[in-house]
């Protein structure tokens, strides 16, 4: 009889890419649930639509490239990209926003660069940035959190809004939001907490004045803090299961913490504090789910720390002095650009190759 020939090693850990991506998707569940609870059905609708779009787009483009479709789809990376993008955009943004974003992420950022493992940028974040700079109006239209809303949109209404921009009763997104905001709430547009603070500070208000808005409560912005905590939970699960190492989240959050701590110390009442930075916007999502994307992050542990610290600093800098309210996407993309350099300078010293200096002694 003939025997099977293979190259060593013959045993293997049973944790392939598919499994890793599944785990990450699983860990997103608490965060997504929190978002649904706070921002309504729109989140789920965005998510489902994004995933379907991603799968279709990836299949079509792979077919166009004459590449096998099934193995590429099985690795779950397209689904993860779509999910990350979907939870990053406002829940009531019209369907074509997420559609364009997903197509761009999958086709241009991922496939055109050569598919999984070849993209230098995080596809979800590149897609997000495309949407943010192209459709700033839609991309900054966040609903107020459920706590403050005067009524809850039904699933059907959310669906209608998503596809037609009008509810079944014929109200537009604008009208819905205005009604939501009409009652007693400070007439800020649908600004996120970070957005609000920025606006207020730029108008010359102090931090404590801007924190008086009813959108704040607890540790940071209402709703946003819960979402961030939920993503933190999911992230902790990933670290515990060793799907990701602790380096990136700890370094990122640590840097952000130090930077915002210094900021509030030296500019009292002028800059938002640690609690706001850590629990607003995409901080936790970014630290555990986005910056940890293996493809576009640095590889060595040392490199990962440098990479994540860079993101932390950039997030703080862009949030404080940049042109857009939240900064995770820009920070991640900029850090992605630095990855080859970081990798180059964080190379480990191979066994037996003692540095010239040491050997000279």
């Amino acid at each position: 009889m003939s025997f099977f020939i293979a190259s060593s090693p013959h045993n293997h850990v049973r944790r392939n890419t598919q499994w890793v991506m599944q785990q990450v998707l699983l860990a997103m569940v608490p965060g997504v649930l929190a978002q649904v609870w706070i921002f309504g059905w729109g989140v789920l609708i965005q998510l489902a639509f994004a995933i379907v779009t991603a799968i279709v787009a990836e299949s079509l483009f792979l077919a166009f490239r004459d590449k096998p479709i099934k193995p590429a789809l099985r690795d779950n990376t397209a689904i993860l990209t779509a999910a990350l993008l979907a939870v990053s955009i406002p829940p009531l943004a019209p369907w074509w926003v997420i559609f364009i974003g997903v197509i761009f992420s999958i086709v241009v950022v991922k496939q055109v660069f050569g598919g999984v493992g070849q993209n230098i940028f995080n596809p979800a974040m590149a897609g997000y940035v495309l949407l943010l700079v192209s459709f700033p109006v839609q991309m900054t239209q966040w609903m107020p959190p459920a706590h403050l809303a005067t009524f809850n949109l039904s699933f059907i209404d959310s669906l209608w809004l998503f596809f037609t921009q009008y509810t079944t009763d014929g109200f537009s997104v604008m009208q819905v939001t205005m009604v939501q905001l009409g009652q007693g709430i400070d007439a800020v547009s649908m600004a996120t907490p970070l957005d609000h603070i920025r606006n207020q500070l730029s108008q010359g208000y102090t931090l404590s004045e801007s924190l008086n808005s009813p959108i704040f409560g607890g540790l940071a912005g209402l709703g946003w803090q819960e979402v961030n905590m939920a993503y933190f939970l999911g992230g902790a699960y990933l670290v515990a299961r060793r799907v990701i190492t602790w380096h990136i989240p700890v370094a990122l959050l640590g840097t952000l913490l130090v930077a915002s701590g210094l900021g509030t110390t030296f500019a009292i009442d002028q800059l938002p504090g640690v609690n706001i930075h850590l629990l607003s916007g995409a901080t936790m999502l970014g630290a555990f789910f986005i910056a940890t994307d293996p493809v576009s992050a640095a590889t060595s542990n040392k490199g990962k720390v440098i990479y994540a610290a860079l993101i932390g600093v950039l997030v703080y800098v862009i949030r404080t002095w940049g042109g857009y309210p939240d900064a995770m996407a820009f920070a991640v993309l900029l850090a992605n650009l630095c990855v080859p350099t970081i990798d180059y300078f964080s190379k480990p010293r191979p066994y037996g190759n003692v540095k010239a200096k040491e050997s000279a002694e």
Binding site: S8, N11, T77, P294, T299
Partner: protein, 645 residues
């Protein structure tokens, strides 16, 4: 004492399931004698030895089948008594399965031995003597690399630290474990020989902490033998048994990338080697058998066995009752570094420490190779601190310069990177291929350099000849006179005598060369006799063929002990060339002396090559002379200048 040894650590490493209990629960068995054994002539790293037997010879257990040749090498011994039935290419115990020269012995079942004589008072022998005995016993590193032990010992000077490696970190394999449990005293006795041969200052026996019985046994043996040695218990982690990793674990130092442990005064030997040394010195037994782990869930009776070197793998697997499935793998070595074989008739060799037959569910085949996602896990487990993923990209792109820059040569192929890779990329396979390509490229480059030199030399020679011809036409009359003189001289020379005289100077090759020379002379005479009357090509060819056949027969008869056909042929060519040259009466030229001188220095390894060069020189000269003769012109004395190649 053991607690005094500081255990350091090395970067990376993995913890694959150990699965050692499959085979280490029972005492080592002895198998029935196989019908035939296949003894490959070369079972170690280095040159192969010279054959001492031929088909039809009867051999006894322990009889040497080869002896070290001029360029070193180790002997192999008959593991049992029987008849040599064949010496031919046989599938090798190598990942490639490429056939190698193998002595097949049909065993007679009597298991008769030669008389083994132990070394007397071994501890009072000089290190050189001990090393000589170890070499003659054919001992090579039994841990897996099969580097000749004697060579390793003689290369090491001022040994500060002797490490006896009983770590055995690969999953499944328990050969050393069982050996230490059952033969701790013999191992310790072997260690004393090593200490004596090396004058080592310190000795450490390293064992992984998952082998408590072996640790216990070794400690007791060391204590009762009261020798200067300590047992170091290292934590279980793969690949802590790798030479470089173990040195780092025990000393905290790294072996320099281009160096050897001996540069640091460290020498490492496997426990099995120590056992073999004991057998060789105290019992006089050469290396004829080794302990082999038969394991894997496809075997019904796993365990360890003493296997004669040369035993076909199929024989061992039959004894362990292999239940082969459709995608059955038979792995020589462990799951991390072992290789599969496709033909079970390959023999057990000195480096075969384990035969692993896993079921499909036990060690499933690697899945579809997916794209690298740059997760960096490979980098974290690499014990050599390399960048496996970068190496993978460069290997894929065949970027050899980048591979060298990223220290591919420091990769020990331990397989940790491929073990953890979530994309199931066979990384080690890529590295092996790249290493082979780089090696090939180097060989090609060297060949190209030689070819360039030869081509340029030839061009220069042609140019000189052209000049010489022009010169010659100018001085036609003068040249013709010289030609007459030369021809007269040629007539006086006795070719046979000349060639004998030449070869007599050559001590190493004397026999074969004389034989060849005689044959050649005969052939030449015959050819000349025939061709003198023959007019056309055909007749000449027939004559040549006849002469050739005669020469072959003669050579065959005389050169039974000649190392190989190549040498014989070269020798023959040399003789022939010389004979021809003598006929041309050019033996007085300085170049010829040179050729003679060079052929005298035949003791070392380079002699072979030099002789060939000399032969080529002579040949070229002869050829030239031949041409000149055809043109009915003369050889001038300047001709000799052209032989610079």
């Amino acid at each position: 004492m053991a607690s005094a040894i500081k255990i350091w650590s090395f970067p990376g490493g993995v913890h694959p399931p150990e699965r050692k209990t499959l085979a280490n629960q029972t005492a080592t068995a002895t198998t029935e004698l196989p019908e035939k054994v296949y003894v490959p002539v070369k079972q170690h790293i280095g040159a192969e030895g010279q054959l001492l037997v031929q088909p039809g010879d009867t051999v006894l257990r322990g009889q040497a089948l080869t002896q070290p040749g001029m360029s070193g090498g180790l002997p192999v011994h008959a593991p049992s008594s029987g008849t040599v039935i064949n010496i031919a290419e046989h599938t090798s115990n190598h990942p490639s399965g490429i056939p190698t020269l193998t002595i097949t012995i049909k065993l007679d079942g009597k298991h008769e031995s030669i008389e083994f004589t132990a070394v007397e008072n071994p501890l009072e022998q000089s290190p050189q003597e001990l090393i000589k005995y170890i070499r003659e016993a054919g001992i090579a590193g039994l841990g897996g690399a099969a580097y000749p032990t004697a060579q390793k010992l003689s290369q090491t000077q001022n040994t500060e630290l002797l490490i006896i490696n009983g770590v055995e970190c690969e999953p499944y394999i328990v050969s050393d474990d069982r050996l230490m449990r059952e033969h701790a005293e013999e191992i310790v006795s072997g260690i004393t020989i090593l200490q004596s041969a090396l004058q080592a200052q310190q000795t450490i026996v390293a064992i992984e902490d998952n082998k408590p019985e072996a640790i216990q046994a070794m400690r007791q043996a060391i204590e009762s033998a009261s020798i200067e040695a300590a047992v170091a218990v290292v934590p279980t982690k793969y690949p802590s048994g790798g030479e470089k990793q173990l040195i780092q674990l025990l000393t905290g130092k790294e072996v320099p990338s281009n160096g050897y442990p001996s540069d640091m005064g460290i020498l490492m030997q496997n426990v099995g080697t120590a056992y073999a040394i004991h057998e060789a010195i105290y019992l006089g037994k050469p290396l004829m058998e080794r302990i082999v782990t038969l394991t894997g869930e496809a075997l019904q009776k796993p365990g360890t066995v003493w296997a004669l070197l040369g035993t076909p793998v199929s024989h061992l697997l039959d004894s362990a009752s292999l239940q082969a499935s459709s995608k059955q793998k038979v792995i020589i070595g462990g799951p991390m570094m072992g290789y599969t074989i496709s033909d079970l008739e390959v023999p057990v060799v000195k480096s075969t420490n384990c035969i692993l037959c896993p079921t499909e569910s036990e060690l499933p085949a690697t899945g579809h190779e997916m794209a690298c996602i740059r997760c960096g896990q490979c980098e974290q487990v690499c014990p050599a601190s390399l960048l496996p993923q970068q190496l993978y990209w460069y290997a894929k792109a065949s970027d050899h310069d980048a591979l060298k820059q990223h220290h591919l040569k420091d990769c020990i192929e331990c397989g940790a990177c491929a073990y953890v890779c979530p994309s199931e990329i066979p990384l080690v396979h890529y590295y092996r291929k790249a290493k082979a390509e780089i090696r090939e490229e180097l060989i090609e480059q060297q060949k190209a350099d030689i070819a360039r030199q030869r081509f340029e030399a030839r061009q220069a020679r042609l140019e000189r000849e052209k000049q010489a011809r022009l010169e010659k036409h100018k001085k036609a009359a003068e040249a013709r006179q010289a030609a007459l003189a030369a021809r007269a001289a040629a007539a006086e020379a006795d070719p046979t005598e000349q060639s004998t005289a030449d070869t007599a100077a050559n001590n190493g090759e004397k026999q074969s060369k004389v034989a060849a020379a005689i044959a050649r002379a005969k052939a030449k005479n015959a050819a000349q006799a025939e061709s003198a009357t023959a007019e056309d090509d055909k007749k000449a060819r027939v004559a040549e063929a006849v002469a050739r056949a005669k020469a072959k027969k003669a050579a065959q008869a005389e050169s039974a002990t000649a190392e190989d056909d190549k040498k014989a042929r070269v020798a023959e060519a040399v003789a022939r060339a010389k004979a021809k040259k003598a006929a041309q009466a050019e033996s007085a030229t300085p170049e010829d002396d040179k050729a003679k001188q060079s052929s005298q220095q035949s003791d070392n390894a380079e002699a072979e090559k030099k002789r060939r060069v000399a032969a080529a020189v002579a040949r070229a000269k002869a050829k030239k002379a031949e041409q000149q003769k055809q043109q009915n012109s003369v050889t001038t004395s300047e001709r000799g200048d052209s032989e610079s190649s």
